[in-house]
Amino acid sequence: MRRAGALVAVLLVVLLVLLCACTTRAGSPAGESAWREQADKVLGAAMSSLGTARVVLENDTDLPHPYAVVTLQDAITSLHRESGSFLTSRPPDDRHTDNDRVVAALGEATTLLTRVSTAVAANAGTAALRESVRKAYDDLDDLRTKVAGS
């Protein structure tokens, strides 16, 4: 009986530690360096997805249709996955403007990716999109250098 009690106690402690580790006090702002790291990561993910879209667009006549469609869907999914945690965390107080710019850029990237994906799926012309994707990619790169310093 005593051993069962000890077991329960150990389990409780483990649970407590896990809870503490998992809940980084909701609502409190992230530290400056943590925010920078997150912004760098999420912008990197957006660039990565746009880069993939760029490769697809530049070769879309060479790729089988379903393959191009799934590749673009994957690019959207992966950006979506990466941006989730950034969107829900609170930036440091003096970084609100930068945070807004990153969020806006993520939104633009998502919109653009969706547009590319739809156009490719519908076999519509993609020539104009090619240029927008390239520009969006370069803009993200600039923003990344500016806010995240890398």
Partner: protein, 409 residues
């Protein structure tokens, strides 16, 4: 002539069977992020798997006992059980990743959502495990897996700066924007992907399945020492392709579609068609191998009849394990978990579980009682010992690196 044919067939299947979802994903990721600067790790891993696969094949030939028989005999039931549990977890994870990989590859060909394909893949895997002859399964899937050679062709067609790639490989040049911790994490992942423990269970059990005798030792060695390194070259070609196409754009590879994209860039629709055949064959083959390995290790630990060399109704428990493992794999994947993430975890898990499998093999390969004149020579022992140290280091480093780098992000 017939002998030559057999030899060639064995080598070709070894090449085609070498690459699995772990190799595909990890090499593509590493190529895009680090170029070929981790290429020597692949070489190290391939040499390691050669050393231990040859040893376990030799043990299977000489003693007629497969790996997990020996693990329990030599480590006792307690440590053996720990070993069993750890290896089963890793092998099951790999199994799940491979089934997911087949589904992803098929969804790339059809643009049908992979969640709809997973149950069908599970059913097919189980049917093959239940009905197909062992050698047929090995040969057909191995030969189709050869389609992945298209990565080498694509790399040649992409015509990268070869001097630059070679420079990266031999100077181990870490890209400036990555830190050493991440670099080390991916080194361990690549090593784990090349040296997955299931390959040793499978290779030794396969030796018993195919009733190898001492006459087959030469064939076995040819498969291992020619086939595996050529398979390793395919891994490097994958990394080279993603390095060339994605490297300049800073693209991170986190989907199977990205892994094949460079082939499409280089070779167009035909290239994609071939690479998809390769993906399906390689992951399906590895799904069969890992599924069997789950059954092998459990049955061997408990002394049950295992193997496809007897009729399924003579190894009922073994086949029940296969059914349950397949159902578990499908169930896990149906939760919508990303198979690529499962793959990433499984290769690191492999690195952790490596010493548990390799140590007993090294011990038994030195036992005259089992091996007679075929005990390890000086070279096998020297390499075996060096690798044991490497494998232990990788295992110790794997989990801390996983946590510290947040899975390499």
């Amino acid at each position: 002539m017939k002998k030559f044919f057999g030899l060639a067939l064995g080598i070709l299947t070894a090449i085609g069977g070498f690459v699995d979802i772990g190799d595909l994903v990890t090499n593509a990721q590493v190529g895009a992020r680090f170029g070929l600067s981790l290429g020597l790790v692949v070489v190290l891993g391939v040499l390691g798997i050669c050393v231990f696969a040859e040893m376990s094949g030799r043990v299977a030939v000489c003693s007629n006992r497969a790996t997990f028989d020996l693990v329990r005999e030599r480590l006792g039931p307690r440590v053996g059980l720990l070993n069993l549990v750890a290896s089963m977890i890793v092998t099951l994870l790999t199994f799940i990743a491979e089934i997911g990989g087949v589904a992803l590859a098929l969804s790339l060909a059809s643009s049908v959502n992979d969640l709809l394909i997973i149950p069908i893949v599970g059913l097919l895997v189980w049917l093959v495990l239940w009905r197909a002859r062992f050698s047929l399964m090995e040969n057909v899937l191995g030969l189709l897996g050869l389609a992945l050679v298209v990565f080498a062709v694509a790399l040649w067609k992409l015509d990268p700066s070869w001097g630059h790639l070679a420079h990266q490989t031999f100077t181990v040049a870490k890209p400036g924007d990555e830190d050493w911790m991440t670099y080390a994490y991916y080194a361990v992942a690549l090593f784990g992907a090349a040296m997955t423990p299931y390959e040793v269970f499978f290779f030794s059990s396969g030796g018993v399945e195919e009733k190898w005798t001492e006459k087959d030792l030469g064939q076995m060695r040819a498969n291992v020492f020619v086939g595996f390194p050529l398979g390793g070259l395919l891994s490097l070609a994958i990394a080279g392709c993603t390095a060339t196409v994605f490297g300049p754009l800073d693209v991170q590879v986190d989907a199977l579609s990205q892994v094949g994209l460079p082939v499409g860039v280089a070779l167009g629709k035909i290239g994609i068609a071939i690479v998809l055949v390769g993906f399906v064959a390689a992951t399906f083959g590895a799904a069969c191998e890992t599924g069997l390995s789950v059954g092998y290790s459990l049955a061997q630990y408990l002394g049950w009849q295992w193997g496809k060399f007897v009729r399924p109704d003579e190894a009922t428990r073994f086949h029940v394990v296969l059914v349950l493992a397949t159902m578990l794999g499908v169930a896990v994947l149906m939760t919508g978990v990303d198979p690529i993430m499962v793959t990433e975890i499984s290769v690191v898990g492999s690195a952790v579980a490596l010493p548990l499998t390799y140590f007993p093999i090294l011990v038994v390969a030195n036992d005259r009682d089992y091996m007679g004149e075929h005990v390890n020579g000086t070279l096998a022992n020297a390499l075996g010992t060096v690798y044991l140290v490497v494998v232990v280091l990788a295992a110790l480093a794997a989990l801390p690196l996983l946590v510290l780098t947040g899975m390499g992000s």
